[in-house]
Symmetry: C2
Subunit: 141 residues, 2 copies
DNA sequence: TGGAGGTCGTTGGTAATACAAACCATCTTC
DNA sequence: GAAGATGGTTTGTATTACCAACGACCTCCA
């Protein structure tokens, strides 16, 4: 197996598993009256406080789409806006306490759904997988 | 670290990476005039020929949502319907040649976007990751 | 065998999601 | 201090998504 092939095989598995997880998350969202996109928003805001454009760029969405998403979630009291003190054009977005609480609950549900799959791996394999995923996250490069 | 914690840590990494890949796929889709959901549909149909309800269940969507998605993609000549010969209520869905061609192209683009990340892993690590993902796919259990 | 009740997919109605273009406010650069 | 770039919102339109209701078909069993 050449190096090219190993990338293709891995890519295929990653995309496939991504779709599988996405299906689970879509159902969890629907059960809580949230779209997949909103779930993604909460997932990001869990430990960050980006501006609107950053959020849109990360999600791969247009900034005008972000405005609406934020509007509706703000109306539900799940997240909030605050003018960036340094750049007065920019608007920072962050979770409210209610948003954090909801996000925690959603992760709990995701855990319940996905844990049976993860249990097919031995504990040492789970740690190995975690370690292998780490370099793929946060593309600071 | 207890076993509980190892699942939580892994879950967190998996969800995080899923969101990251989803962001890339959303952008690729947008550049090709396709929604993330349509991408997911093509990803499934690549090697399957499910009926409408199966597709909806896998995606975590309502069957009426599927009808519309299939309608539009069919109108674009990317996929087709065919009555299931065994169960005349059911309708099978599958990619047309044009749909297969498009799907191949999209996977190529995904590869281009994600390969730089994957290159951070050594070849043996990539194979290890592929092997670890395999048990998580296709939950026949 | 002939309904009764279930499943499959579509349709119609409504709200959320998403893009593009136009806009004002602010920042950057020179 | 003006020209051009960037940040976010608004407006308008198409897609995505749910639910409820429907006709067609299947299954079961009385």
């Amino acid at each position: 197996m050449t190096s090219e092939d190993s990338v293709d095989t891995l890519l295929d598995a990653l995309v496939r598993y991504t779709f599988q997880v996405t299906g689970v998350l879509t159902r969890i969202g629907a059960a809580n009256d949230l779209s997949l996109t909103q779930l993604r928003v909460f997932g990001i805001l869990r430990d960050r406080r980006p501006r609107v454009t950053e959020l849109a760029a990360y999600l791969g969405l247009d900034k005008s789409t972000m405005s609406g998403l934020i509007d509706r979630a703000e109306r539900r009291g799940l997240l909030a806006r605050e003018k960036n003190p340094t750049d007065r054009r920019a608007v920072d977005v962050f979770l409210t306490p209610a948003g954090h609480e909801l996000t925690r609950r959603l992760y709990g549900e995701a855990r319940d759904f996905l844990a049976p799959d993860l249990d097919r791996l031995r504990p040492d394999q789970r740690e190995q997988l975690t370690a292998l995923l780490r370099p793929l996250l946060e593309p600071d490069s």
